[in-house]
């Protein structure tokens, strides 16, 4: 009888263990309810801040913001705003900060900035067989870009001396047309934001190559109103520095096709 009981117990334990194993698969992490909220103003811009097919905010900025505020004990609330009216939102206090692939360069004094958490790079992509290797090789070449984009300005205005003079700059309304241009060989190179071009290369890595030198690099930061609690801003800066150091930001960026080297180096203050 004792032996029999042992067998039953074993069966029970095994069954329960199996169930527990199954239950773990479907377990959910708890919510962050009850934490003070920080309202983040942004606009739809892949891959930094966009709403995925499930209707949720997602992207590089969203994930970095979630991680950072979670460390600080706040709950981020994302709000898409008319980007043109961003300053009014800040002044009204409708949003606490602006966080959406926002370039610090040239706007240094208009806002209270955190430290830069990422670089945003404009790069050039050629076909694998191309003999273009450096930026200077683009001299006298046909370059396709999206109309009104940063690279278009760079190549037309050529204020930076590193940017060579192309034969022609083909401007298209959409990036799809830019890609088609490279695909069909109408252009020698195409230029655009690193993350977008990386996603192109991902579709067929054997056909395309990104030039190592970037055309242009800007620093991305989080902008607060001038009279916002500066302690909070510097605390966020510290957390972001922490996240740069421990690789959290690099990991997140890489997920969205942004090279790890875009995480700014942490320098001693």
């Amino acid at each position: 009888m004792k032996k029999g009981k042992g067998i039953y117990t074993l069966i029970l334990i095994m069954t329960i263990a199996m169930l527990c194993g199954c239950a773990q698969d479907t377990a959910e992490t708890g919510s962050t309810a009850g934490l003070p909220q920080i309202i983040i103003g942004s606009y739809n811009y892949e891959p930094y801040n966009y709403i995925n097919s499930g209707g949720e905010f997602t992207g590089v900025d969203v994930e970095i913001a979630r991680a950072a505020f979670s460390r600080m004990g706040y709950e981020p609330v994302f709000k898409q705003i008319l980007w043109e009216n961003k300053d009014e939102y800040l002044e009204d206090g409708q949003v606490d900060c602006l966080w959406g692939c926002f370039t610090m360069t040239g706007r240094e004094n208009r806002y209270q900035w955190t430290c830069p958490y990422l670089y945003s790079r404009q790069v050039a992509v050629v076909r694998s067989g191309s003999d273009i290797w450096k930026l200077s090789d683009l001299r006298g070449k046909r370059i396709a870009v999206q109309a009104t984009s940063k690279p278009e300005t760079l190549f037309l205005e050529r204020k930076d001396k590193h940017i060579p003079k192309p034969e022609m700059v083909y401007s298209f309304s959409t990036m799809d047309e830019v890609y088609a241009c490279l695909r069909k060989g109408y252009a020698d190179a195409i230029c655009g934001h690193e993350s977008a071009l990386n996603s192109l290369i991902k579709t067929s890595p054997e056909n395309y190559r990104m030039l190592e030198d970037s055309l242009y690099t800007s620093e991305l930061g989080v902008a607060f109103g001038k009279d916002y609690d500066s302690d909070f801003v510097s605390r966020l800066s510290e957390v972001l520095t922490e996240m740069k150091t421990d690789g959290t930001i690099a990991d997140i960026a890489e997920k969205y096709g942004i090279d790890r080297q875009n995480v700014p180096e942490v320098t001693d203050k």
Binding site: P166, V169, S171, F172, E177, Y179, A180
Partner: protein
């Protein structure tokens, strides 16, 4: 105990069912969850693959479309550049040329703008500066105006028509050159691939439904019902939130209640959707669950069935064992299991006699003390104490299967105590033993009885051995004594050859002494016959009066000789004609009378009477009394009076010359004949023997019995054939027969006898007297030959056997050979004559 067992069994079955059900539910829940997860996971993978497939197909399509579009753009751009260069080269390039170029290049319209974006040249009937400024924006146009490398290509789709625009810098001066082509967007070519037909009729596994939408309308789907619908309309066909559940899948159901699982994905402006039928997704789960449930139930049923069967079998076996053990246990009155570690006990069986004393005890030592109390004080308890001691049992039972002892308690019962090992630990150490008690009083009694029987048997054998030695000693003495007498008398006779008186006295004494010798031999033979049960009683008619007369006649002579008065008390009887064995009866009564005379003194008397005491069933009871006033017997001798060779006074032997066998034979024989013998005696006063006997009444008339009266009374003149090998015996017999007047022919052996008979005339011989043991041919063979002869007298002639062998089988053998009578030597001539006459008489009648 039984009910306990039963309820325990029920409990175990209930427990088993509870476990089976619980385990079953847990197992099924587990399996269900696992299978669901698996199905969801598979569906997720399938959804991903499908969405990827959709994305790839749409991307491919889009790429083709874009490629085509870009091709048109570049072609248009090249034409525009060429136009700009033409204008640069030829400053007079004006309206007509442009018109012509546009026509040649199939360009719908051309416009040349100055740095203020004002049209300076344009094809007639085509769009002007406003159109381009609106289409491309001033900012973009200004870039073209300002930078020579700049260019811009753009498409406007409106109302089914497509307008492609290309803009480049004016080469000769600030400004822009713009061209556009216009065509209808309606595709009518067979080879045209369109988005809406991309998935038409496609069949996806798991009954999958796919759709591609730009957010407004359904662009493509494999379900016709969805095609052309707006996104919202399409969504409205299903209920359920279009957001992913915990499992990463969107769950929908249609109006019919069918369920669908799937996902949507936004890729570059398109939303892709793929949904799969729940019944298809979970088909495997359904089947596996069904199979699992059935298998599980069957498994348990088999398991339970097996358990029940095994249990029943075990139970039967156990019951059988218990029955066996109980039957074995019945032998023992008390069974006590004892632990060797501390002497604690479990009483398995308790006899009623010790129940009260032992019931409350828990240690073997206490029980031993009870046994000690019941142990006789005078007996030595110490060996018992040592036997009981449980502490030494392990050592004592090391190489033995059991220990046993027995003792008698104060109640006089014999108790057997056995100690047997009951349980050993795995390493062979003895853990418990059984103390088994048994009442063996009966066995012991039997044993004692057996022992005493054995002892008496040994005593008897010793006595018999002593008796035999004694017998031989007495025989040598008793035989030697008369032989001495005979030889002594012969010597005296020799000494006085002429003294006739002396001679006669000597012969008389020889005859008397030899008679005693013959008596002795006869007695011994009779004794032997009696002891071996060989005695054959006759069943012949006789007359009681004659019988008593013959006894009295002999007794009177004996009494006279001894100087004792013999008193005939006579017969008081109703039945005189009887049947039985008168010879034996006579011998025994005569023996009593002889003893009474012998152990008497001169002047004493012996009185003999016969009385019938009753009759029934053809039998009459008689009482023969022989009374004397002789020397009597001492009380102590009376006890042994009927034993062989018992004689009270050894002196009496010489004086009274008895064999010491008479009374023993009498008692034996009387008892063999169904009678009894009684004795009253007092030393010096006399003895009285009473023989009680039942005899058959002869129903035939006495007259028939009287015929011997008519017989011839002499054998004178008869011719007798005498066959005898011993010369002396021959001489004696011949003398005696001739003395009676018979004519005797002699033969020395059987063969001679046969010849003599053969050669005689028929009827010559009246008689043949035939010795049995002879050389050449013995008497038996000779008789057979004579009887086999073919002559008238061969079978009729009386042939009498004469032999020294008195045993019964000899008589039988001689009768079987054809002889008529069997006579023992020495021959009693009177008896012989009587017998011959009887035969001759029979013959004559």
């Amino acid at each position: 105990m039984n009910s306990d067992k039963k309820s325990g069994k029920n409990r175990s079955i209930a427990g088993m069912i509870a476990v089976a059900v619980t385990a079953g539910i847990l197992l099924f829940a587990g399996a269900y969850t696992a299978l669901t997860n698996q199905a969801i996971k598979e569906t997720r993978e399938l959804t991903e693959q499908t969405l990827e497939f959709l994305g790839n197909r749409v991307t491919e399509y889009k790429n083709n479309v874009t490629n085509d579009k870009t091709k048109s753009f570049i072609r248009l751009l090249d034409k525009t550049v060429e136009l700009a260069e033409n204008i640069e080269e030829d400053s007079s390039y004006g309206g007509d040329r442009i018109e012509k170029y546009a026509h040649e290049q199939r360009i719908s319209g051309v416009a040349v703008l100055d740095e203020n974006l004002e049209a300076v040249m344009k094809t007639t009937g085509s769009h002007g500066a406003e159109f381009f400024r609106k289409a491309l924006g001033d900012e973009a146009l200004m870039k073209i105006v300002r930078y020579k490398e700049a260019s811009y290509m753009h498409r406007i789709e409106k109302g089914g028509s497509v307008v492609d625009i290309a803009a480049v810098s004016r080469r000769d001066r600030p400004g822009a050159v713009l061209c556009y082509t216009k065509h209808n967007s309606v595709t009518d070519g067979v080879n045209d691939i369109t988005l809406d037909s991309m998935f038409e009729g496609m069949v996806f596994s798991r009954d999958g439904v796919v759709a591609v939408t730009d957010g407004d309308i359904v662009l493509a789907s494999n379900k016709k019902s969805l095609m052309g619908k707006s996104f919202e309309q399409g969504k409205a066909l299903y209920t359920g939130s279009f957001s992913e559940g915990e499992n990463g899948l969107i769950k929908l159901s249609n109006r019919k209640g069918d369920k669908w699982y799937g996902a949507q994905e936004k890729i570059s402006g398109y939303t892709f959707m793929a949904f799969f039928s729940a019944s298809e997704i979970f088909q495997t789960r359904t089947i596996v669950m069904l199979v699992t449930v059935s298998a599980y139930v069957i498994l348990w049923l088999v398991f339970i069935l097996l358990r029940i069967l095994i249990r029943r079998k075990n139970l039967q076996r156990a019951e059988k064992n218990i029955r066996i053990i109980e039957s074995i246990g019945r032998i023992y009155t008390t069974i006590i299991e004892t632990s060797l570690s501390d002497g604690s006990v479990t009483v398995l069986k308790l006899s009623d006699t010790v129940k009260k004393q032992v019931e409350a005890l828990h240690n073997i030592e206490d029980i031993m003390n009870v046994a000690h109390e019941n142990f006789p004080k005078e007996d030595n308890w110490e060996p018992q104490r040592e036997f009981w001691d449980y502490t030494t049992l392990a050592a004592r039972l090391e190489d033995k299967d059991s220990l046993d002892t027995s003792y008698r308690n104060t109640a006089g019962e014999w108790i057997s105590l056995e100690i047997i090992p009951q349980h050993r630990t795995r390493n062979g150490e003895l853990e418990t033993v059984l103390y088994l008690f048994r009442n063996i009083t009966e066995d012991k009694q039997k044993e004692f009885e057996y022992q005493s029987r054995l002892r008496s048997a040994v005593d008897e054998a010793q006595r018999a051995s002593i008796a035999k030695t004694d017998f031989l000693r007495r025989m040598s003495h008793d035989i030697r004594t008369p032989i001495n007498g005979i030889r002594g008398m012969l010597e005296i006779a020799e000494h006085y050859p002429d003294d006739k008186e002396k001679q006669k006295e000597c012969r008389s004494k020889i005859e008397k002494t030899s008679g005693f010798l013959l008596d002795l031999v006869n007695s011994v033979l009779d004794m032997n016959k009696l002891e071996s049960g060989e005695i054959k009683l006759a069943d012949e008619p006789f007359n009681l009066a004659d019988f008593m007369d013959s006894i009295d006649a002999v007794a009177e002579i004996q009494a006279k000789e001894a100087g004792v008065t013999y008193i005939r008390r006579g017969i008081e009887a109703e039945h005189m004609s009887l049947t039985g064995s008168p010879m034996h009866l006579r011998q025994r009564i005569q023996n009593l009378i002889t003893n009474a005379i012998k152990y008497n003194e001169a002047g004493g008397y012996v009185a003999v009477s016969c009385r019938e005491t009753g009759c029934s069933e053809g039998m009459a009871s008689f009482e023969f009394v022989c009374e004397d006033n002789g020397i009597g017997m001492s009380e102590s001798f009376q006890k042994h009076a009927f034993e062989a060779f018992a004689q009270e006074n050894t002196d009496a032997r010489t004086l009274y010359s008895g064999t010491g066998l008479g009374l023993a034979i009498t008692k034996e024989l009387v008892e063999v004949m169904g009678g009894s013998i009684d004795m009253r005696s007092e030393a010096g006063k006399g003895t009285c023997f009473t023989v009680k006997m039942r005899l058959h009444i002869n129903e035939k008339s006495d007259a028939e019995q009287t015929e011997p009266e008519n017989r011839q009374s002499s054998i004178a003149g008869m011719n007798i054939l005498l066959v005898e090998d011993n010369a002396i015996n021959m001489e004696i017999a011949e003398f005696m027969l001739e003395d009676k007047g018979a004519e005797v022919v002699t033969a020395c052996n059987g063969l001679e006898a046969v010849r003599a008979f053969e050669n005689s005339e028929e009827g010559y011989f009246d008689f043949i007297l035939m010795d049995v043991m002879m050389p050449v041919m013995d008497g038996l063979a000779a008789t057979e030959q004579i009887r086999a002869m073919e002559r008238g007298d061969a079978s009729a002639i009386p042939i009498f056997a004469m032999t020294a062998n008195a045993f019964l089988d000899d008589a039988e053998r001689s009768r079987a050979a054809g002889m008529n009578e069997h006579l023992t030597k020495p021959l009693d001539i009177d008896r012989l004559v009587n017998m011959i006459l009887k035969y001759k008489g029979d013959k004559q009648i």
